[in-house]
């Protein structure tokens, strides 16, 4: 499943809208991940507070969305844009790839909450595809 020109356009347009709130949105998406899928806490045992409302979790979520923003800027070659992160996930973090799908879901929920009616089915589709691509790139060096 590849991104069409239209998908890329929709992703870029959405990003422009949400960029000013990217840190908040990223923080909320990760907080929702912890709240809804508590097994994901296992990756954050090194945080003193790894509850859904933890400031460390929120800060980390902001980082994650920042990286996704980089992928948006380099959407024509996500593999190149996220190459270092791909290695980090493969050799250091080794987050089970199933969790990329879970975070994609909570990010979609957060985008939907922020954008309301503007998060149309087409925008939703473009982001679902884009986040699936990001997940593929992040796990491409796992084995």
């Amino acid at each position: 499943m590849t991104l069409s020109a239209h998908d890329k356009e929709l992703v870029a347009k959405t990003w422009t809208k949400i960029a000013p709130k990217a840190a908040q949105i990223g923080g909320e998406a990760l907080g929702r991940l912890i709240a809804v899928f508590p097994q994901t806490k296992t990756y954050f045992s090194h945080f003193a507070d790894h509850s859904a409302s933890s400031p460390q979790i929120k800060a980390h979520g902001a980082k994650v969305l920042g990286a996704i923003g980089q992928a948006v800027s380099g959407i024509d070659n996500v593999s190149a844009s996220l190459s270092k992160l791909s290695e980090l996930h493969a050799y250091n973090l080794r987050v089970d790839p199933v969790n990329f799908k879970l975070l994609a879901h909570t990010l979609l929920v957060t985008l939907s909450a922020y954008l309301g009616a503007e998060f149309t089915p087409e925008v939703h589709l473009a982001w679902d595809k884009f986040l699936a691509l990001v997940a593929t790139v992040l796990s491409e060096k796992y084995r």
Binding site: E28, G31, R32, I34, A35, V36, A52, H105, L108, V109, T110, S112, A113, Y114, L115, G116, A117, F119, T120, P121, E122, H124, L125, D128
Partner: protein, 147 residues
């Protein structure tokens, strides 16, 4: 037997009280058909599903979305026994409709996203968690009679 906390019951019923069953049903089903277009295989009698705008305006999609959400209301009224409540529906989906149970998950996801679109920040992580649990329970109940 599924164990529900008071907070979860409250989260579900308070959200349910505020939703327009036809509208949310329509949104959730339309999203499934747009975002996961292979699901259109189950709706060959629905007419024009060729583009998102066609799906959004399709009266059969709207009507069916409402049917689905009304059925969800039955589960919500019978939270302590969703499996029994859905036994016939499960059989219908398996024997007559031949729906891959994976689709129950997809609709569960788009319903959550539709609720987030309607309620915004009021759809808190804890409320989302309660609804995700409900979607998992509904999915399990609908899949139960498959063999």
């Amino acid at each position: 037997m599924v164990h529900w906390t008071d907070e979860e019951r409250q989260a579900i019923s308070s959200t349910w009280a505020e939703i327009n069953v036809e509208e949310v049903g329509h949104q959730a089903l339309a999203r499934v058909l747009v975002v996961y277009p292979w699901t259109q295989r189950y709706f060959s009698t629905f007419g024009n599903l060729s583009k998102p705008s066609a799906i959004a305006g399709n009266p059969k999609v709207r009507a069916h979305g409402k049917t689905v959400l009304v059925a969800l209301g039955d589960a919500i009224k019978n939270l302590d026994n969703v499996k029994a409540t859905y036994a016939k529906l499960s059989e219908l989906h398996s024997e007559k409709l031949h729906v891959d149970p994976e689709n129950f998950k997809l609709l569960g996801e788009t319903l959550i996203i539709s609720l987030a679109a309607q309620f915004g920040a009021a759809f808190t992580p804890d409320i989302q968690a309660a609804w995700q649990k409900l979607m998992a329970v509904v999915t399990a109940a609908l899949s139960k009679q498959y063999y």
